[in-house]
C-alpha cells in the first residue's frame, strides 16, 4: 500500500497543478490595473473532486483493474467458421450494399429539409475521408495539409465561374484535375522525406495555400471570400424559382409541378451521394489493381518493396495525386453547395477533422470511414449544448484511439480464402 501511496499522491497533486491555475483563476483587467478572480465554488469543487478521483484511482488501480476484468464480457458470437467462403461473403456484401444504397436514395424524399442538408455535409466528409484514406490509410503517408487540395478544388470552381462563367459540370473534372496537379507538384519533391517530416511539410504547404488565398486579394477576394457561386443544374434545368441564365428552364416549370425549394436540397444530396458512390467504386477498383496493392506493400515495408523492384516515387506520387483529386471534387461540390467560400473554411483544424475520421474509422477501411464520418458530423449536431466541447472531445478521442485502438474501430479486412474441411 505504501509504495503506491506516494505515486498516487503525486498524480493527485499533478492533476491539481494542471487544472487549478487555468480553470480556477481568470484575469480581470480594469483599465491598466490587473487583478485575478477565482472561479465559482462549483468549478473549484470539480477541480478538487478530479484531483481526489485521480489520487484514489492511482491508489487502487490494481484492484479496479482486477474488478473490471472479473466482470464477464459477453462472448463474441462466432460466425460459423467453415461455412462462409469468399464467394458467399461477396454475395452478402453485395446484397448489403444494394440495400444501403437503395435506402440512401429513397430516404431524402421522406426526411426533413434540415436532415437532408446535414446528410449532404456528411457525404462531403465521407468523400474527403475516403480520399485521405488513400494517402494515409493505404499508402501510409501522413498528410496534414489535405485541406489544401480541398481548397484548390473549391477555389477552382469559384474562380472559373467568376472569371470565365464556366458551369459546375465543366468545373467538377477541372477541379479534380487542378487538385491532382497541385498534389503532383507538391508530392514530387517531398515524397522522398521520411514519414514525420512529410507530415510537417504537408502541414506547411496547407498553411501556405491558406495564407496565399487570404492575401492574394485581387484574385481570390482575400478574407472576404467569393460569393454567389451558382448551384449545379440538372442537364440545364435550374432549381431556382426563375432561371438565372437566358434560355434555361427552371426544374419545376419543365415538369410543370409547383415550385418547392426542397427539390434543390434533395438534388444536392443525390448529387453528393452519386459522387461518393463514384469515389467508393473507383477506390475499390484501385485497391485490387497492382498500384493499390503496391500502396499497401509500400506502407508495410518500404525496403522490401524497393528490393522487389517497385518504384517507390511513382507509387507514392500516384497515391498522393489520386487522393488529392478526390479532395478537389469534394471542394468543387462544397463551393457549389455553400454558394460562398473563404479561406476560413480551409484551416488546419479541417485537415485534423478529416484525419480524425480516417483514424477513427480504421485506416484503410472504407466502411469504417463512412461510419466515422457520419458519427463525427451527426453527433455534434445532436448534442448542440456540448458544441463548445466538440474540439476538446475530438483531441481527446484522437489520443485515446491511438493508445487503445490504433487500428481504428473497424479495421480493414483483407480479402482472403479459407480452406473448408471436406
Amino acid at each position: 500500500m505504501k509504495d503506491k501511496f506516494f505515486p498516487a499522491l503525486i498524480a493527485g497533486i499533478v492533476t491539481f497543478v494542471l487544472a487549478f491555475p487555468l480553470l480556477g483563476l481568470s484575469i480581470v483587467a480594469d483599465g491598466l490595473t490587473l487583478g485575478l478572480e477565482g472561479a465559482d465554488t462549483k468549478t473549484l469543487g470539480y477541480i478538487a473532486l478530479a484531483s481526489l478521483a485521480v489520487f484514489f484511482f492511482q491508489l487502487w488501480k490494481s484492484n479496479i483493474v482486477a474488478v473490471a476484468k472479473s466482470i464477464p464480457l459477453p462472448k463474441k458470437a462466432y460466425s460459423s467458421p467453415a461455412a462462409r467462403s469468399q464467394s458467399q461473403r461477396d454475395k452478402r456484401e453485395k446484397l448489403f450494399t444494394l440495400i444501403v444504397v437503395a435506402l440512401a436514395l429513397v430516404w431524402p424524399f421522406f426526411a426533413s429539409r434540415g436532415n437532408v442538408d446535414l446528410a449532404t455535409l456528411v457525404l462531403i466528409y465521407v468523400m474527403l475521408g475516403l480520399g485521405l484514406n488513400i494517402v494515409v490509410g493505404l499508402a501510409g503517408l501522413l498528410d496534414l495539409g489535405y485541406v489544401a487540395f480541398y481548397a484548390v478544388g473549391a477555389y477552382s470552381y469559384a474562380l472559373l465561374y467568376q472569371y470565365f462563367g464556366l458551369s459546375f459540370w465543366v468545373c467538377l473534372p477541372l477541379a479534380g484535375l487542378f487538385a491532382a496537379i497541385f498534389g503532383f507538384i507538391l508530392g514530387f519533391p517531398v515524397l522522398r522525406l521520411r514519414g514525420d517530416y512529410l507530415a510537417i511539410v504537408t502541414l506547411g504547404f496547407g498553411e501556405i495555400i491558406r495564407i496565399l488565398l487570404n492575401n492574394w486579394t485581387h484574385l481570390t477576394g482575400g478574407p472576404n471570400g467569393i460569393g454567389s457561386i451558382p448551384k449545379p443544374s440538372l442537364f440545364g434545368l435550374e432549381f431556382g424559382r426563375r432561371a438565372k441564365e437566358e434560355g434555361n428552364v427552371p426544374f419545376h416549370e419543365f415538369f410543370s409541378i409547383d415550385y418547392n425549394s426542397g427539390y434543390k436540397v434533395i438534388f444536392l444530396y443525390l448529387l453528393a451521394l452519386l459522387l461518393v458512390l463514384f469515389t467508393i467504386f473507383v477506390i475499390r477498383r484501385l485497391m485490387r489493381m497492382p498500384v493499390g496493392r503496391a500502396w499497401e506493400a509500400l506502407r508495410e515495408d518500404e525496403i522490401a518493396c524497393r528490393s522487389l523492384g517497385l518504384n517507390r516515387t511513382i507509387i507514392k506520387l500516384s497515391a498522393f495525386t489520386i487522393g488529392a483529386s478526390f479532395a478537389g471534387f469534394a471542394g468543387a461540390f462544397f463551393s457549389a453547395r455553400q454558394g460562398f467560400i473563404s479561406p476560413e473554411s480551409f484551416t488546419f483544424i479541417e485537415s485534423a477533422i478529416i484525419l480524425a475520421i480516417v483514424v477513427l474509422g480504421g485506416m484503410g477501411s472504407q466502411l469504417g470511414i463512412i461510419l466515422a464520418a457520419v458519427a463525427m458530423t451527426v453527433l455534434p449536431e445532436l448534442a448542440r449544448e456540448f458544441q463548445e466541447y466538440r474540439m476538446l472531445m475530438f483531441g481527446l478521442m484522437m489520443v485515446l484511439m491511438m493508445i487503445w485502438r490504433p487500428q481504428g474501430l473497424l479495421p480493414m479486412k483483407r480479402r482472403h480464402m479459407e480452406l473448408t474441411n471436406g
Partner: protein
C-alpha cells in the same frame, strides 16, 4: 546611407529578439526528437500555456501580494510559470506519448496532434477565446542615430529578452555538458537501449527532456508574452510550427543547432517583413522549412541519420 544602415540594424535587432525566443521553443523539439525520435506536436501549446500562466501570475502578484519591485515579480513569475508548464510537459508525456512509444512513428504523431487540439481547446474553454492583454512592465530603451531622421532603437524589453535567453541557454548547455543527468541525457540520445543496459533509467531521462523542454517554452512564453503584450489560445500552433522550422534549420537533435536555427529564422522573418511583405513572412518561413528538408534534411549542424536495416 546612414538611414539604410540604421534601418537594417533595427530589423536585425527585432529579428534577433524574436529569433532568440524561437530558439528557446525549438530546443524543446530538438531534445525530444534527439532522444525518442518523435515530433512533439503539442510543444507549441506548452508555450501558449506558458504565456497564460505568466499573465495570471503577474496579475496575481501585483495586487494580491503587493509586490512592486520589478525583478522580484519577474523572477517569481518565471519560477511559477516554469514549474506549471513543466508539469504539463511531464503529464503530456505520461498520458499521450509513453503508451504509444515504440510503435509506429505516425501513431505517436497523431496522438501528439490530438493532444495539441485538446490543450488548445482546454485553454479556450478555461480562459475564453478572446485576447488577453498585459500592459508592458519593462518600458524605455536606447535610440541611436540622428535626432531628425530614422532612429534605430533597442528597448529594455529586447535587452531583457537577450539576457534571459542567454542565461537560460548557458545554463542548459552547462547542465547537458557537466551534470550527471546531462551526461545520462546524452547517453540516452546516443543509444537508448545501451544506456538502459548500463543502468540509466531511460524513462526518467525521457521525462526529464519533456520537463526541460516545457520549462524553456515557459521562459519563451513569459518573454514573448511581455514583448507582444497579448495572448490567446491559438498562438501555440504557429509558434510551434516556426520553432520546429528553427529546429530543422539548425539540424534536429542538435541543441546548438536549435539556437542557431532560431536566430536565423527570426532574422529571416524580420527581413522579409521589412523589405518584402509582412503578410508573406509565414509563407517564407514554411517555404524555408520545405527547402531545407528537401536539400539538407540534416540541417546546418545536424548529423546525418543512418538507417539501419
Amino acid at each position: 546611407m546612414l538611414e539604410t544602415a540604421l534601418y537594417f540594424i533595427q530589423q536585425l535587432l527585432n529579428g534577433l529578439t524574436i529569433g532568440s525566443t524561437y530558439a528557446l521553443i525549438a530546443i524543446g523539439y530538438t531534445m525530444v526528437y534527439g532522444i525518442i525520435g518523435m515530433i512533439n506536436f503539442a510543444h507549441g501549446e506548452i508555450y501558449m500555456i506558458g504565456t497564460y500562466i505568466s499573465f495570471i501570475a503577474i496579475s496575481g502578484l501585483i495586487p494580491l501580494l503587493g509586490i512592486e519591485y520589478l525583478p522580484l515579480i519577474l523572477i517569481i513569475t518565471l519560477a511559477v510559470s516554469m514549474f506549471i508548464s513543466s508539469t504539463y510537459g511531464w503529464a503530456i508525456e505520461r498520458i499521450a506519448y509513453r503508451p504509444v512509444r515504440g510503435g509506429n512513428r505516425l501513431i505517436a504523431l497523431i496522438s501528439a496532434i490530438g493532444m495539441s487540439i485538446f490543450l488548445q481547446n482546454y485553454v479556450r474553454i478555461a480562459q475564453g477565446s478572446r485576447d488577453i492583454a498585459m500592459p508592458s512592465l519593462i518600458q524605455g530603451g536606447w535610440s541611436f542615430g540622428p535626432p531628425e531622421g530614422f532612429q534605430a532603437s533597442l528597448s529594455y524589453m529586447q535587452l531583457f529578452i537577450f539576457i534571459a535567453t542567454f542565461i537560460t541557454m548557458g545554463g542548459l548547455t552547462l547542465f547537458i555538458a557537466r551534470s550527471r543527468m546531462g551526461r545520462a541525457c546524452r547517453a540516452v540520445s546516443e543509444d537508448m537501449k545501451m544506456a538502459g543496459l548500463l543502468g540509466i533509467n531511460t524513462n526518467r531521462i525521457i521525462s526529464l527532456t519533456f520537463v526541460i523542454g516545457a520549462a524553456l517554452a515557459a521562459v519563451a512564453g513569459l518573454l514573448l508574452g511581455l514583448y507582444y503584450g497579448v495572448t490567446n489560445p491559438y498562438i501555440g500552433f504557429i509558434a510551434g510550427l516556426k520553432a520546429f522550422t528553427a529546429a530543422v534549420l539548425g539540424g534536429i537533435g542538435s541543441i546548438p543547432g536549435a539556437m542557431l536555427g532560431g536566430l536565423l529564422l527570426g532574422v529571416t522573418e524580420s527581413m522579409t517583413s521589412a523589405y518584402f511583405s509582412s503578410e508573406y513572412k509565414d509563407v517564407v518561413s514554411f517555404g524555408l522549412l520545405i527547402l531545407i528538408l528537401l536539400f539538407r534534411p540534416t540541417g546546418l549542424l545536424g548529423k546525418p541519420e543512418v538507417e539501419k536495416i
